[in-house]
């Protein structure tokens, strides 16, 4: 049973847990009353309170409206730590380093695609592997893998897996500097190398969608989005390479914590000082894994392009709108209590959301704010937002990352049959292809909170603005 916390609510959107016990700071939860009911049912508030005990935490431990129970950190959690005196926690990034979302726009409309949807979905299902068979279609050798780890999406573009523009329109240009492949173990490389260009399973997917409504015409125009336009959302991460990097460093952090005299309420929160040898080694490896993830999503987009061409001919063009990561730790600068602070922002299931004018946003989006991509559950909807000023003031430039799970995987499967679920979705105009039977059942829309409710909170709190709502037509899953 989840521990009950006293929440102080000022405006029905922001709820505060005052620091107590070992906590070094408050917890602030962004949620509606209805969402809060769900949040109270699992361990997420306790986990957010545990995060507040991290040495060197700056500002509150933040919980986004899609928050749900994770490991150590809650999923939908944000924590900034002081760059000089704070800690880095691999659990604050997660096992899927740089799990993220990429939105691709097409030159086709729903009317163009609908009659050939089955053909398209089957083609994409053949061209974009989920990786459950063990490998994908991009065979990089060990030397090429070094390029991927150092240069991420840029390496892919330079080696024939994309167009020049693709790398420019990814967060951080699809490549984090100071990635050090030497800090990535041989095991992580062996595990990840054959998986480059594969989706993975769990909640990862590729969705063919169309723009159902536009809420900010200027922002939509800048992103090249039109009503009824077909777009594709890709949700994947660093695959086995990132999982192994996190596993390797968690194993090293236990003994290192003792040396640095750090004790924490949850072992999965394991952390070390950012400036320690272990901290720097982890960050260098994490950046390499993040680059692998950007390369992975770039590779998937490359094969997606081929699928569209096979079905619709050369005139069907795909362009990258944006690519965001939602599991990462990054060095950023914010004004906290009137002072400029250099911090390491841990986003565990949270998306960066820079406001208009920020210099890290591509020029094309400078006036509207950074595109923020929020996948919903299979068969419901996804959202495109634009970052707003509120996120800079309150949440270290961060917002939610999805709808947030509500039902366990076992509960989702109970009494349901994969074929029936597939048929029901088909009746709603959504074709689903999955490499595994469980892939469909575990990700049924009923397992998730309502994504629209999550978005309303973020929009009303001034963290990001609604731009467009996307509705699925075809889903490829692991």
């Amino acid at each position: 049973m989840a521990r009950q916390f006293q929440l102080e609510s000022s405006d029905g959107l922001r709820h505060r847990i005052r620091k107590h016990g070992q906590m070094r700071t408050d917890v602030v939860v962004y949620a509606s009353e209805a969402l809060l009911e769900h949040i109270r049912q699992d361990l997420s508030l306790e986990q957010a309170a545990n995060v507040a005990t991290l040495p060197g935490i700056v500002g509150p431990s933040l919980a986004m409206p899609d928050i749900h129970q994770g490991y150590g950190f809650p999923i939908g959690g944000v924590a900034a730590t002081d760059l000089e005196h704070g800690v880095v926690s691999p659990g604050g990034v997660g096992f899927d380093i740089n799990c993220g979302v990429r939105l691709v726009r097409s030159t086709l409309s729903e009317t163009d695609v609908r009659p050939r949807l089955k053909e398209l979905v089957d083609q994409v299902f053949r061209d974009v592997p989920c990786g459950t068979g063990g490998s994908g279609f991009i065979g990089v050798d060990s030397k090429q893998l070094l390029g991927v780890l150092e240069q991420g999406a840029r390496w892919m573009v330079e080696n024939g897996y994309g167009e020049q523009r693709d790398a420019e329109f990814a967060e951080a240009g699809g490549m984090l500097d100071d990635a050090d492949p030497d800090q990535v173990s041989e095991r992580a490389r062996t595990r990840g190398r054959p998986q480059l260009g594969t989706l993975g399973s769990g909640n990862h997917f590729l969705e063919i969608q169309f723009v159902e409504s536009i809420h900010d015409a200027d922002a939509a125009r800048a992103m090249g989005l039109e009503i009824e336009q077909v777009v594709v959302l890709i949700h994947s991460g660093s695959r086995g390479l990132g999982h192994q990097v996190c596993t390797d460093y968690l194993a090293r952090m236990g003994p290192a914590m003792k040396r640095h005299d750090i004790t924490l309420p949850d072992r999965q929160l394991a952390c070390v000082p950012i400036q320690s040898e272990e901290g720097q080694a982890y960050l260098a490896a994490m950046r390499a894994a993040a680059n692998f993830a950007w390369a992975n999503r770039q590779g998937i987009m490359h094969f997606l392009r081929l699928s569209f061409r096979k079905v619709f001919g050369a005139a069907a063009r795909l362009a990258l709108i944006y690519d965001v990561c939602h599991n990462i730790a990054k060095h950023e600068r914010y004004v906290v209590d009137g002072k400029k602070r250099d911090v390491l922002v841990h986003r565990k299931g949270a998306t960066r959301a820079y406001p208009p004018g920020h210099r890290e946003i591509p020029q094309a989006y400078r006036d509207i704010g950074q595109p923020v991509l929020i996948p919903g559950s299979m068969g419901t909807a996804s959202w495109v937002l634009a970052g707003a000023e509120g996120a800079m003031r309150e949440t270290f430039g961060s917002v939610c990352h999805g709808a947030g799970r509500m039902l366990s995987r076992t509960a989702a499967k109970k009494g349901r049959n994969a074929r029936e679920v597939q048929k029901k979705l088909e009746e709603q105009g959504i074709l689903v292809r999955s490499e595994t039977r469980d892939g469909i059942l575990e990700e049924i829309p009923e397992a998730y909170k309502n994504v629209d409710e999550v978005i309303e909170v973020v929009h009303a709190a001034g963290l990001a603005r609604k731009v467009a709502r996307l509705r699925p037509m075809g889903v490829i899953k692991g």
Binding site: G72, S201, L250, A251, Q268
Partner: protein, 136 residues
């Protein structure tokens, strides 16, 4: 021998066995059964597994991470696991199985990692019990 446990986003299992060595053997099999269809796996080859840890809990997490590496990284499918040596900070053993053939050993779920979330290894009046959650 083992049962599946619920978690909002992920999955876990509980092992109830007679000895601590069996905890390690059975937990590795439980992990594999979440990742793969295990029915058709044959014990044709043997692979050595080894892990260290500062205590019983980290020893189990690191042993399972070792098994996961061989399954996901080296693409092996195991019929069973055996512990050869078990000390306070070190466990050695082997897995008997064969190279994974996706047609005969289809994937169920891709397991990302083994976690410390609500991890429990305890001696009971009947033997040993452990609970482990996996990130998937």
């Amino acid at each position: 021998m083992f049962e599946i446990l619920e978690h909002t986003a992920d999955i876990g299992f509980r092992v109830r066995v007679r000895t601590l060595a069996e905890v390690f053997e059975t937990a590795a099999l439980a992990l594999e059964s979440i990742a793969l269809e295990t029915g058709a796996i044959e014990p044709r080859q043997e692979y050595r597994l080894e892990a260290t840890g500062e205590d019983r809990e980290s020893l189990l997490v690191n042993w399972l991470s070792e098994a996961l590496y061989w399954i996901d990284g080296e693409q092996l499918a195991f019929h069973h696991f055996r512990v050869g040596g078990l000390a306070a900070r070190r466990v050695t053993g082997w897995g008997a199985g064969e190279p994974r053939d996706p047609a005969r050993h289809p994937a169920r779920l891709i397991v990302k990692a083994v976690t410390y979330h609500q991890l429990r290894v305890a001696e009971t009046p009947e033997g040993w019990e452990a609970e482990v959650y996996l990130d998937i």
